[in-house]
Assembly symmetry: C2
Homo-oligomer: 350 residues x 2
């Protein structure tokens, strides 16, 4: 299988390095052949080529079976007046590959409950997956700027809503058959369309799946007040961005959460939900688990290697259970480095 | 002083009734004369007049010193195809009165920490106020709908951003001189403008106030992970809607939180941040504290009656401390009714 590796910026290179080692260990153990190609994206690509997503990178991704990405962005490229920004590279890649469904599973581990701001009794049994629409909405609508004002257009078509709701309902079939669709239908026209389409798709195509609707403001509350109530959550791009960072607090750290971005084609993009964390970049202390678990999702969704994916997930669980935790999770003074956590995961995979 | 009372829908009449009794008790105790006028808004107004904000209501509010509102909306008026919706009345009122700054203070009470999903040690000392922009952004931009798609325009002018940031910085001067501005400047053009304008206003006009920027997704995390870090938070309309519902979980219940919506004129609008809660409407169990505390903000911000405002706030604190709690806060089987909580607050005010 051909895998493109996009290290990106900040802690991106450190965490992708860890995940690549894990992929290599899985290949050895199961006798697979993974061919890894590195390409440039984000700030690193701007520095080298002037563009956040060089054509060579996009083409390599289009030809690949899957893409593993670290993170993009950083203060070096964050001047509000800058013409090109690292994030444009990531957005153009998601759009260019047609990856409209971003899956973000949230399953707190017993070993990391201490790091969560949420009371532990609310967290046991939490097992949700957020399906975030990833190639539409206000992220991609027309942007305008004048001397005295600015605007962003939020747009959704029926087809865009249908396909992502369908993906969420399909996922729910393999789980607890329950989908909560999140919108702001009491204010937004796009949300009213979202609600209508979601209702119709669920009723006509998924009679075995229960669909509920929640307003996004309420959801921001319920997500932490009664997290066990959720199975699959489906929502538009901006709401999904906000709610998944919030949901990461259920797991104890943003650094733990993986994601899979899928479209109609075979190629998927796998990245941790955290950012490039410039404040800790280069110090060898970043949590590699989000990226390692993203590699597991890559094996599952793009390569169909379920046993291998589970093997990685169990290895990460075992390492967390053993208390080998990076600084985002460990009690003060007891933190393991990125390398130590990675080595512990690799040891589980021998 | 002339106060317009807008009961609205669902639990709106129940909670405004409680707050009106409290205002009457304050008037008696301090020898003030409050003239209260009731008017229609929301679903109740649609049923009576066909419009969610009848002209008579808007005019009465424009002439008044202050407006006290319950909540609007409910399933009866929520057909996605409906031409008029209760929420339009609220939005038109905010816009019609020019109330661009929505102040939402969050100060957890010791007595309600048990009801919060957040670990108690994170909550002691939390004292923040969110300033939400209330008359711009995606709430008020052009909406379009066709057979196959829908759109909402998010727009901000420099002047709209300046005035709300100024209000936030002024508030910070009476507090800990610290403002966090929340945006999504790595993706949205309106957010980049927001960040530039906020930076300039703070630097040029408030050199004594420290301004920081946070991305909205990060903020959804930090708000619950380290709530003590925040003093004043300023953000655009939609982000403020989501983040304040989330922040209500710090206080233990949405039902506790008041808000004040202010503009350049003297008239302010005071409403709890909760909605019309149709599921519990008419059962006499709603938490009246958010609306009672909104009446306190009314006295402070529109009538300049600080001692009276504090007197109400202390009365509510004392009632919470005494364990007189509605069902949203009480341990199972120990809940007080709306009337019991209100009576307890009134007893404190004798
Ligand atoms: C870096 C940024 C553009 C991105 C997003 O907002 O989608 C990130 O926050 C994420 O969630 O993947
Ligand atoms: C009812 C609704 C329109 C309103 C809003 O979104 O502003 C409410 O959620 C609020 O926060 O006051």
């Amino acid at each position: 299988a051909d895998i493109v590796v996009l290290k990106g910026d900040g802690i991106g290179p450190e965490v992708t390095h860890a995940a690549v080692e894990v992929l290599r260990a899985v290949a050895r153990r199961y006798g697979h052949q993974f061919t890894l190609h590195e390409h440039l994206i984000g700030g690193a690509a701007i520095d080298a080529t002037g563009e956040p997503l060089p054509a060579a990178t996009l083409e390599a991704c289009q030809r690949a079976d899957a893409v593993l990405l670290g993170a993009v962005g950083g203060p070096k490229w964050s001047d509000p007046k800058a013409k090109v920004r690292p994030e444009q590279g990531l957005l153009a890649l998601r759009k260019g590959l047609g990856l409209y469904a971003n899956l973000r599973p949230v399953q707190p581990h017993a070993a990391t409950l201490g790091a969560s701001p949420i009371k532990p009794h609310l967290l046991s049994g939490v097992d949700m997956i957020v399906v975030r629409e990833l190639t539409g909405g206000i992220y991609f609508g027309q942007k305008q700027r004048s001397e005295t004002s600015a605007s962003d257009l939020c747009e959704y078509s029926v087809a865009e809503i249908e396909r992502v709701v369908r993906r969420a309902c399909e996922l729910a079939r393999g789980r607890r058959h329950h989908v909560v669709s999140v919108d702001k239908a009491n204010v937004l026209e796009t949300s009213r369309l979202w609600r209508e389409v979601a209702t119709r798709v669920a009723r006509e195509e998924f009679p075995d799946v229960t669909l509920e609707h929640q307003l996004v403001d309420s959801m921001a509350m319920h997500l932490i007040a009664k997290p066990r109530a959720f199975d699959v959550i489906v929502t538009e791009n901006m709401f999904g961005d906000i709610l998944t960072d919030e949901a990461s607090m259920l797991a104890g750290s943003l650094g733990l959460l993986p994601s899979a971005s899928l479209g109609e084609g075979k190629v998927g993009l796998y990245e941790p939900i955290h950012g490039s964390a410039p404040d800790i970049a280069g110090r060898g202390i970043a949590n590699p688990c989000g990226t390692i678990l993203s590699a597991a999702l890559l094996l599952r969704y793009s390569l169909g290697l379920n046993a291998e994916a589970e093997c990685i997930e169990q290895a990460v669980s075992a390492v967390l259970d053993a208390g080998v935790l990076t600084a985002d999770l460990a009690p003060a003074g007891e933190a393991a480095t990125t390398a130590a956590v990675t080595a512990a995961v690799l040891a589980q995979l021998e």
